[in-house]
């Protein structure tokens, strides 16, 4: 599979990574090599092998439905770049 420069640009955009244009050829090359590895893995027969969702062979533990957290807004908001009236502020988002 060819990982061309457009695919790199698209992937970088999806991941919100600012990729300088000069680095695109190198990243394309690196991703191409990763894809080669994936191709190699795909060649291995896995029919009848259940999908592995997690490397640990354990089940999800469950938590009882009881409130354990109390208002810590002041502390949690302290590191926010901008906040007002208890709201986190971000650059205007318009749908």
């Amino acid at each position: 599979m060819a990982f061309d420069q457009d695919s790199v640009r698209r992937t970088a955009h999806l991941a919100r990574i600012a990729l300088p244009p000069t680095e695109i050829p190198a990243v394309a090359d690196q991703l191409e090599r990763i894809m080669e590895l994936v191709e190699e893995l795909r060649a291995i027969g896995t029919t009848g092998v259940p999908t592995m969702a997690h490397p640990l062979d354990l089940d999800q533990p469950l938590r009882p439905d009881t409130v354990g957290n109390h208002d810590q807004r002041e502390v949690l908001m302290a590191s926010a770049p901008a906040a007002d009236h208890g709201l986190f502020l971000v650059p205007k988002v318009i749908e």
Binding site: R10, H13, L14, R16, T51, A53, H54, L56, L58, D59, Q60, P61, L62, R63, P64, D65, T66, V67, G68, N69, D71, Q72, R73, L76, M77, A82, D84, H85, G86, L87, F88, L89, V90, P91, K92, V93, I94, E95
Partner: protein, 476 residues
Amino acid sequence: MDWEVVIGLEVHAQLNTATKIFCGCPTTFGAEPNTHTCPVCLAMPGALPVLNAAAVDKAIALGLAIGAELNRRSIFARKNYFYPDLPKGYQISQYELPVVGRGSLTVQLADGVEKVVGVTRAHLEEDAGKSLHEAFIGQSGIDLNRAGTPLLEIVSEPDMRSSVEAVAYLKKLHALVRYLDICDGNMQEGSFRCDANVSLRRPGAAYGTRAEIKNLNSFRFLEKAIEYEIVRQRDILESGGQIVQETRLYDANRDETRSMRSKEEANDYRYFPDPDLLPLVLAESRIERVRDTLPELPDAKRARFMRQYALTAYDAGVLTAGRVLADCYEQVAAGVDGKLAANWVMGDLLGALNKAGIEIEDCPVPAEKLRLLVQRIEDQTISGKIAKEVFEEIFYRGGEVDAIIDSRGLRQITDGAAIAAMVDTIVTANPQQAADFRAGKDKLLGFFVGQVMKASQGKANPDQVNAILLERLQKG
């Protein structure tokens, strides 16, 4: 040639757990912004999710109620997109292996027709926060109290063929989640939200391209949005155009759907299994424990009401549409005639509630009082007409049934001699009408009944008045 509309619905039901799906923050609505947050739902580095057992049990309950396959092993996945009300940059959802697999819901349409609508799947996921755009210049305010609230997304098959069928399905599902007590069903507050996939095709042809309509927070909006979409798509297709697959927003003020500025690459969510969560394994013991707690479901209750109270399918359907209403009816019907109780609950009670804009949950008349009122009609203490007067008093001002009957002197007159005396007075006072009646003007009986009832201030037993009047008039 005609077009056939094909509709599938995606419903997001907020599960009414006490805490969020992956952390111990409360889920109560209306708190001060961001006071129900913690490092997990704010996506602080290093914080890890732990799944809420109650959310799992509520998903199982829905699965059992729609006869669905329950996947003994399901997997949480990350759905990646960027929006400020989604702090992690991904939503934890389920993708390839949802907790609830294929099931179905039978909906009742007009004329007693039933239709089975397939449910493709239902999966657990977390809700996002809320963005407030108005209050700040050049900035948006973010409230993450809702972020991490458990949702069950219930996806139907594209089985519905009209807006009426879509509304019937949504109402049925709405009633079901409330019966199961897994969701409060509050559509205004967004606890029960619906997106509709709508497309047109020639009957029998392959499915056409669909539009997904968002923001349908009432049954009426669902119906109107589908109707609008049918016309829009038909006009495009009939003028030789093509439908674009897109997300559209229903604008209730203008009664139209319009294209949402499609987010670039919006559908490339790059799902992958969430490494922070292990597979969810459902033990048989857990499933059985949930099964044991299931209440009687709407279809079973409806069938029982028809059998036990001799109600029509229609009446039983109305009375079982909600669990609170059904419980109210059963309390009223305890020990009195089922049909009479149904008439009072469906007619007078629902009518008064509707007029006052009150939901049955906030009904000012306890079922026990209504039962007593119906009983007083049955034991002939009061007539049905007087009962309406007593009901109004109780509904708007409160009070006790017997106390109102006594203090206002409403007790029905069933003493034959007393009624005969009144009849005699009226007939004697109206000789001309009496003569006309005897000469064949049968309709004048109504006049006499009215006069006697008036004289008794509505308290004379109407059946007795009729019988005694007829006898007296014919006697001459």
